[in-house]
Point group: C2
Chain length 314, copies 2
Amino acid sequence: MDNRPAASEVLISEVGPRDGLQSVKTIMPTPHKLRWIDALHAAGVREIEVGSFVSPKLLPQLADTAEAVRHALGLPGLTVMALAPNLRGAQAAMQAGAHKITIPVSASQAHSLANVRKTREEMLADVREIVSLRNRSAPGMKIEVGISTAFGCTLQGIVPEDEVVALAAACVAAGVDEVGLSDTTGYANPAQVRRLFRRVRAEIGDATGAAHLHNTRGLGLANCLAAYEEGVRTFDASLGGLGGCPYAPGASGNVVTEDLVFMFEAMGVRTGIDIARLIDARAPLRDGLGNEPLYGMTPDAGLPKGFVQGAVHG
Amino acid sequence: MDNRPAASEVLISEVGPRDGLQSVKTIMPTPHKLRWIDALHAAGVREIEVGSFVSPKLLPQLADTAEAVRHALGLPGLTVMALAPNLRGAQAAMQAGAHKITIPVSASQAHSLANVRKTREEMLADVREIVSLRNRSAPGMKIEVGISTAFGCTLQGIVPEDEVVALAAACVAAGVDEVGLSDTTGYANPAQVRRLFRRVRAEIGDATGAAHLHNTRGLGLANCLAAYEEGVRTFDASLGGLGGCPYAPGASGNVVTEDLVFMFEAMGVRTGIDIARLIDARAPLRDGLGNEPLYGMTPDAGLPKGFVQGAVHG
């Protein structure tokens, strides 16, 4: 599946409204959230994970996900994504009309049990049920599995690559459209990113989905570069580096959208996103979040003198 | 020239005692500085730029450079480097017994004039004089030129790659041993790093020296990865990301040694440096600097669970 805008070479999938907001305590008021989504779209972002269909008791920050989906459906050219951790969430996503859902399935058995109290095999059974429901009720909706802890786990440590590859194959056999790899814990290194994406692509081909990489140890962009060189063309990132379990002040979890877009555009790889307008999209985020710190080095340093987006200098 | 320790695949050249300290106002007391250098060496660092032979009026932080050189000469296996911006500095470095000097020559004419009030051509004339003095007085001392603003300039913007390549060739013709490329302004991107190192190597072969890359826009490690993939094997970095003209809080200039070593070691590329002891070397730096902020995400986040240095997981 390729939902990149025609003129772009990579698709930046903005996960801030889901992965970012679920990690901060502040509850962003819905009107601010919708303005933020609008600003991301206006900058050229063409895939946004606008929320998560989980219990509002668990994540009150995302209680307005159905409203966010319905609003985002009005933005032209946008793929509206939401996270759905289970059948009930998937049902809600279909009812709201999401174009695509992402289901997190952990490669680490320890993480899976701790996080959702289910084994990987039980999660796979859920995935099969969701696919079956989708096929009956919303055949146009795409389903992605994001394999979390694909590069290592804070509970069990090493996650064998064979198990990640086998899990990716099992997800495709279960009928999902795409399988992405998530470095939930910020453990990945560029050699591992290349190796694992290569192995997964050899197993499931074009069903290989997004790279969801973290910047916990500063390697986020280097890992994205490695994934790009290995053929990955969809990258999750979060505006202002919001979310993704930051460990320490200044240490963001998610890859910062602004820095990632700058890297690609500076390399001459088209993202379809206007960097200046992307940086403008920090304003509604900041307005809606109050005192939460935003990361991103490109917004702080500014664009290089003489930098013209869309021009490749030689 | 290859001064990597036998068991290592890359040489991490620590520039903190020069590039770091010259950028902070605090004057580190000499005993602390020497303890810091000792701690870096104890961690396995095998090349350290211990100071700069400039006027103590200009940089009082580095007034003890001769003493730092003499002390560092007692550390086994260490290549003791110092910066020498002119003939007088080079003379002082030879007298102190430095193994190697680095001379900054700017690829940007605007930067050269603003920084040292000399054209590139005048700087090249200085380089020839220094080489001639070295040949007469200290034939064992190595001379590196670090081409600053090689990837762009805050004054003139774009720096034509042809001029960088020609400057590198002129430096080799002037008799220097190595020519490195410095991203003084944090403008570089991975595609440019690859392209320029490839062009310089095509021109001057094994005289191609270190990659001195900054993290101003968050691309530091991605750029190091690109340089590594292009065959570069010497990387400048600064403990705690100290120095390198930080633009903003949290935005370090120099690539952080701890994160760079973690990236390479996690990839299975040997640096010869023990990460835990390298992180320990932050203590004497902090002791000697008081309230200066130190950066580095690996020290904050810790090493991944199950991470064993020297082991490559598959």
